[in-house]
């Protein structure tokens, strides 16, 4: 690689020299009828005969010496540390071994690289090695937490009764073949459903507000939402305890727990949807305004459907957070061992709370149940994330194949309908000239509607048709008001 570069630089070097001879002889037109077009002249040295085909150059930046330095430094560091730990010094401990080996590795690597590179390149290599190892350390540690939980949950999970029974009949000393977490699963489902019913409309409304009604107030609200994202979860629990339970007089119940979860989920959903709605292309909005549609129609028919995939992701991410909240539920839900379907009365347990209560017991079977519950929770969160990833893989306005197909069909239907109506109206009022002008307007707006439709609005198929009908039933009102206002 290095030699290639120098030869290329060499090619630029002799360029002027090669160009020099023709310049004084430029007057001799018979020998050189046309001046040669500007081109790079390759130096023809004696070694390379011009007939040999040029070798394909590698554009990769990894060289053999890099790999060798890396492997060599690793081997040297490992063996030196081993020598120290077993033969020379009274060191011991796995963590110490790893740390020593790593520091020695960095030193050896710097030394090896410095044999054939200069200072900045050595620093670059060292920084690269450190960044790679930090990232590896974090990812391994986080993955380990998950794997550790799943692995410790293996004792409880194979028993089918773990998922189908509640803890009503299981005492603290009973083995894993009795009792399970059905009550916690059902409790989690009920609480998160109530939470979603409360937070999804409110969260989407607030996200729409932040984007569609911009101004100083919206900026302030955005700051408050950011602060609310970091609201300590125990404070959310205390808040609901102080309001719903002490002031309103609700029981410690599923509803109170859902309220506490909602306080935690709301800012997360708002911020994730805010980001997604901000990404909706402005051209789509402008197309809708240009058709004279009012703002709420623009939001309902253009902005929200375009951002649908991202909004779903936002809601799922909020759900994943809400499912795992322990401390707000701890203060508000109470604890029970029986299945409770009523969110209004009596305590209701959720998965994280059950895991938390199980591991407080010193019994190994209970701790195994705690890990089993945590594993179910982890699997649930993982599944939610995978779903979010699958749904949210597309940007705003980007359609799937079938979505595109539906949009094209809907747009074709609209076009036919407009054509029919235009024909009918011309036939009906063939006498007046104003009518034909109006028909013109309708046709133009239908063409524009087609453009917007293929942009990804009408993905919801037949439901759109009647609203579109309504939309274009008074095609005159929009523009008229627009002029009115000016």
């Amino acid at each position: 690689m290095t030699t290639d570069v120098t030869s290329a630089a060499g090619a630029a070097g002799p360029g002027p020299h090669a160009a020099q001879p023709p310049r004084p002889g430029g007057a001799e037109t018979p020998r050189d009828p046309a001046p040669p077009p500007p081109a790079t002249t390759l130096p023809r040295t004696a070694g390379t005969t011009g007939t040999a085909p040029e070798r394909r150059r590698s554009t990769g930046t990894t060289r053999q010496s890099d790999v060798l330095a890396l492997v060599g430094a690793a081997a040297a560091a490992l063996s030196t540390t081993w020598l120290f730990f077993t033969r020379l010094a009274p060191f011991s401990g796995g963590l110490g071994f790893v740390v020593c080996a790593y520091l020695l590795f960095l030193a050896f690597y710097a030394l090896l690289v410095s044999f054939d590179e200069d200072g900045p390149a050595v620093r670059d290599r060292i920084a690269s090695a450190i960044v790679h190892s930090l990232a590896l350390l974090l990812l391994v540690a986080l993955t380990f937490v998950l794997v550790y939980t799943l692995w410790s949950g293996r004792k409880a999970l194979p028993h089918l009764n773990f998922l189908t029974q509640d803890m009503r009949k299981a005492g603290p000393l009973d083995p894993l073949t009795v009792g399970g977490i059905r009550h916690a699963i059902i409790g989690t489902l009920i609480q998160i459903t109530i939470g979603l019913v409360l937070t999804v409309p409110a969260g989407l409304l607030c996200a729409v507000f932040l984007n569609e009604v911009p101004g100083r107030y919206a900026r302030f609200v955005r700051t408050v939402v950011e602060a609310m994202t970091a609201l300590p979860s125990i404070v959310a629990g205390l808040f609901v305890y102080a309001t719903a339970i002490l002031a309103v007089g609700l029981d410690k119940s599923g509803l109170a727990a859902s309220l506490a979860i909602s306080v935690m989920m709301l800012p997360i959903i708002i911020r994730a949807s805010d980001v997604v709605i901000r990404l909706v292309p402005g051209t789509l909005r402008e197309a809708s305004y240009a058709l004279g549609s009012p703002r709420w129609r623009t939001v309902w028919h253009v902005v929200l459907p375009t951002a649908r995939s991202g909004l779903t992701t936002a809601v799922i991410l909020g759900t994943a957070r809400g499912v795992g909240e322990t401390s707000p539920v701890l203060l508000t839900a109470g604890f029970t061992a029986v299945t409770n379907y009523q969110p209004l009365h009596n305590p209701m347990v959720s998965l994280p709370l059950a895991a938390f209560e199980f591991v407080q017991s010193p019994q190994p079977a209970m701790i195994a149940r705690g890990f089993g519950t945590a594993s179910v929770l982890v699997v649930l969160v993982l599944a939610l994330f995978v779903v979010a990833r699958v749904i949210g893989g597309r940007g705003p306005g980007e359609l799937t194949r079938s979505g595109t197909h539906r949009a094209v069909l809907a747009s074709r239907r609209d076009q036919q309908r407009f054509a029919r109506r235009a024909a009918a109206s011309t036939a009906a009022t063939a006498t007046g000239s104003t009518a034909s002008a109006a028909a013109d307007t309708v046709t133009t707006s239908s063409a524009a509607a087609d453009t917007v439709t293929t942009g990804g609005i009408a993905a919801d198929g037949p439901g759109r048709t009647d609203t579109a009908e309504q939309d274009h039933a008074h095609p005159d009102q929009g523009p008229a008001q627009g002029v009115d206002g000016s």
Binding site: A135, F209, A227, S233, G324, A374, L377, Q477, D484
Partner: protein, 344 residues
């Protein structure tokens, strides 16, 4: 219908043709009732969030007032927590909270910056999206899972490191451990467990993904032109990062760290499971026994008398105000820095 609309369109024209300069025009045609309704509903959506935040602060203050009036300024300086006897204050729990959060941030910031740099600058493009969603997933893993890991795995494994640190770093006041004798082979190891240090590691695992995803966002917004300029001047990749990416992202890095600090201050379950609570100011981070505001609330809410509940509300209010200050500072730093990226 159509004719009327045309007449509306044309009539105002002759009324004021010689107004001269154009008046400022409205960009939207939203003077109709449904649109005003939409406006109002959307504003109420924003108002809802404000109302919730105000209610949180207001109700906590209202419930805490009784205890605060009784304790007075002693609430900030008393270390004990015995509200029914009249001796209670948040000096110890507040110290514990701040120490745990500090340990967590000190551990997590290098990890977060390294991982963010790797994802934004070094990782192959194909891997990048996967890594981003893995980090996001880690941020959403329930805290009880990290708590279980800390309680059953980390607690035993950290003893060696804690003993080493206190033996060779004991001259540093934070690393002192009372009652530990490194030369006594039979000394119990329990003085090193359930400490601020262990809780700090657990909390660090929870906040690192959050800090990492904020910092990565800021890194990836570093201007391409300046990056290429650095490369064109012959910079290595690290040279480019040091001269372009890191200066650009300084504000974002500080802001992300403070947002992580805000999370670490409020962490409950992970801390509660790991520590053994003491109600005295405990500055030795390696020694067993510490406390935090949130774990105090989780520990005492069950047996609290009405007055005790009021005292717990006061502690919660203090925590709420602390996280609020940290977060507002963080978001203003992020917003004012050149990167100006919003978090997450």
């Amino acid at each position: 219908m159509i004719v009327r609309s045309v007449s509306i369109r044309t009539q105002p024209r002759p009324a004021g043709p010689d107004h001269g300069a154009d008046r400022r025009r409205r960009l939207y045609s939203d003077s109709a009732l449904p649109d005003r309704l939409f406006h109002a509903v959307a504003r109420s959506g924003g108002g809802l969030v404000l109302a919730v935040m105000l209610l949180v602060g207001g109700f906590l203050l209202y419930r805490a007032w009784q205890a605060l009036r009784k304790a007075g300024l002693g609430f900030l300086t008393t270390a004990q927590w015995d509200p029914d006897a009249g001796h209670f204050g948040i000096a110890a729990v507040l110290t514990g909270t701040v120490l745990i959060a500090t340990v967590a941030v000190v551990i997590s910031v290098p990890l977060a910056i390294g991982t963010a740099l790797y994802i934004a600058e070094y990782a192959p493009v194909r891997l990048r999206r996967t890594l981003v969603s893995v980090v996001d997933l880690m941020a959403a893993v329930p805290s009880v899972v990290y708590g279980l890991w800390g309680l059953f795995f980390l607690q035993g494994k950290v003893i060696g490191l804690a003993r080493w640190l206190s033996t060779y770093g004991g001259w540093f006041p934070l690393f002192t451990v009372d009652g530990a004798d490194p030369h006594d082979p039979l000394a119990t190891a329990t003085v090193y467990t359930a400490s601020t240090f262990v809780a700090g590691i657990v909390v660090a695992m929870m906040v690192t993904p959050i800090i990492c995803s904020i910092i990565r966002e800021v890194f990836s917004q570093a201007p391409v032109g300046e990056r290429e300029g650095a490369y064109a001047l012959g910079a290595t990749r690290w040279g480019m990062i040091r001269s372009v990416v890191l200066p650009f992202a300084t504000g974002g890095m500080i802001g992300g760290t403070m947002l992580g600090l805000g999370r670490a201050l409020g962490e409950t379950i992970g801390v509660y499971l790991v520590i053994s609570p003491v109600f005295a100011i405990q500055p030795h981070i390696l020694q067993t026994g510490t406390s935090s505001v949130s774990s105090l609330i989780a520990l005492r809410y069950g047996e609290a008398s009405p007055f005790g509940m009021s005292a717990l509300m006061a502690a919660g209010l203090a925590l709420f105000l602390m996280t609020l200050v940290v977060n507002f500072a963080a978001s203003s730093i992020v917003a004012r820095s050149r990167s100006g990226a919003t978090a997450e």
